[in-house]
């Protein structure tokens, strides 16, 4: 076996992959959250739709997107492999096993938490991402006054199968900046009017919170980065940023649309 193959088939190598993909997903989360904050803007979705367009069409980001899909798949596959291996390592279970005496609940349930996240991702991506890429999306036309930015005229362009899709456009006409974009905002808004959808998101964000409270710190341990000098920082980030702030930020979106829109 080559050195490389050997490395990645070893237990530590597999863990390395888990941690790198996991951390990559974590950075994505930060970007995704910041981007999605545009949803809270009361501009009829203009900023959000513009952002969505940018994210799907700017080449470097596209490359990163592919990396991201690969990460999710690899992370999930390795999670499965590791979990199966670990089951095999203890073929006969204890009759009495007092896990809570020695380890946090989150750390013992990463697989389950991850699976919830996976289900979430499937639903989430088939709804928004697949829709955006291949779905029959309505468009929206935003005309923003250059002299008075708060003067916005929004014209929805509903999807009409018989008409050719309007092209994405971004130009200046007179004293107005005109943007014609896929109206993902609308899809989001509509989705989050269904209670079960909101529930799924909120539950998933709880799962993600637990996954990351353990996972973020764990990834650094796996990489061998545990210098006393910055371990407290990693713990802080893991718990407060990835365990609290980010999940709450995401969970706030469906709730916002459900209750306020």
């Amino acid at each position: 076996m080559s050195n490389f193959a050997q490395t990645f088939s070893s237990s530590l190598g597999k863990k390395l992959i888990m941690s790198l993909t996991g951390l990559f997903l974590c950075t994505f989360l930060v970007v995704h959250l910041i981007g999605n904050i545009q949803l809270f803007k009361d501009d009829g979705g203009q900023a959000f739709n513009a952002y969505s367009y940018f994210m799907t069409h700017f080449p470097p980001i596209k490359i990163i997107s592919y990396l991201l899909y690969a990460s999710i798949i690899i992370h999930a596959i390795y999670a499965l492999v590791l979990t199966l291996n670990n089951k095999k390592a203890r073929p006969i279970a204890y009759a009495s096993y007092n896990g809570q005496a020695n380890s946090p609940w989150t750390s013992r349930n990463m697989g389950i938490l991850g699976t919830i996240i996976l289900i979430f991702l499937v639903v989430h991506m088939s709804n928004f991402w697949a829709q955006y890429h291949w779905g029959d999306l309505p468009y929206a036309k935003y005309e923003v006054s250059l002299s008075n930015p708060s003067d916005v005229k929004v014209t929805p362009i509903p999807f009409n199968a018989s008409v050719a899709e309007p092209a994405h456009a971004d130009y200046v006409q007179g004293d107005r900046q005109v943007l014609v974009a896929k109206d993902l905002y609308k899809i989001v808004n509509e989705s989050f009017q269904q209670w079960w959808y909101v529930a799924l998101y909120v539950i998933s964000m709880a799962a993600m919170s637990f996954h990351l409270i353990h996972g973020f710190r764990s990834a650094f341990q796996t990489l061998g980065w545990d210098n006393n000098k910055y371990v407290p920082l990693i713990r802080f980030l893991g718990v407060w940023v990835f365990g609290v702030l980010i999940p709450i930020g995401f969970a706030a979106m469906p709730l916002y649309f459900f209750f306020f829109k």
Binding site: N3, S11, Y94, N98
Partner: protein
């Protein structure tokens, strides 16, 4: 004697490696709180022997927490409910009159049961044989004080070296992973200047053997550290991860 306790034990009995085992109930009456857990089992065994029943087999030797031979999973925890002690150092005063105590062997594919509560931990031996040493022959070594070692480093190496090879880390880990043990062994020598020449060779050899033995993968749950009678720290695992990845990804020479 006053203060004595009556207990119910549920003990894993298994005739040999091939046989199927099961939990069997025993009464342990008149147990003094001053007894050690193993002395309590001695008392039960004496009774069994007098009734011509096969005594409960369990591993033990030093009975003072240093040889690492004793290995019981007691009420769901390796070495029982007390922190930082081995089974042989656990005293019955940690239990109450009327308690039911479930006693099982270490459970891991890599530690097959030999009989009852005794398991085969030869996997640990093979891991150490794979690289847990510094290759020096007897004689011809430099004077002991030729290599000064900063006290903090020496102390840290010592902390890692206190591992008694009991296997409680494997028993506690939900993945039956041997990372804490192996990393403690790797760390001791990785920290010391004497261990540097073989540092990267050693970690690769020992991890490869660990994997070959069928232990699980560490998911950093930390149960091992919490249950280790010698309080071996998770830092060792991080250190081993670091050394291993360094060896595999950044070392050019085939070390």
């Amino acid at each position: 004697m006053s203060g004595n306790m009556n207990l119910t034990l549920k003990v894993w009995r298994q005739k040999n490696a091939e046989a199927k085992g099961k939990l069997v109930n025993y009464k342990a009456d008149g147990i003094s709180p001053d007894m050690s857990f193993l002395e309590m089992l001695d008392v039960v065994n004496e009774d069994l022997i007098k009734k011509s029943e096969d005594p409960i087999h369990f591993d033990h030797d030093c009975r003072e927490g240093i040889c690492g031979m004793c290995s019981l999973h007691i009420n769901g925890r390796p070495h029982g409910p007390k922190h930082a002690v081995t089974t042989c150092q656990l005293h019955m005063r940690s239990f109450k009159d009327g308690d039911t105590i479930v006693i099982e062997p270490w459970r891991a594919a890599a530690f097959p049961v030999i009989k009852d509560l005794a398991t085969n931990r030869a996997a640990f031996e093979r891991i150490q044989q794979a690289g847990g040493f510094i290759s020096v022959n007897t004689g011809g070594v430099p004077d002991a004080n030729d290599i000064p070692i900063p006290k903090v480093i020496a102390d840290e190496a010592f902390n890692s070296a206190t591992c008694i090879g009991c296997g409680a880390c494997v028993a506690a880990c939900k993945n039956a992973s041997a990372m804490l043990f192996v990393s403690a062994k790797v760390s001791q020598l990785a920290l010391l200047p004497q261990g540097q020449p073989e540092r990267y060779r050693r970690v690769q050899a020992m991890v490869a053997q660990m994997d070959a033995e069928g232990f699980g993968n560490c998911t950093n749950t930390g149960a091992c550290e919490a249950e280790c009678p010698k309080e071996i720290s998770l830092t060792n695992i991080a250190r081993m991860n670091r050394d291993y990845l360094t060896a595999k990804l950044f070392k050019e020479e085939e070390v």
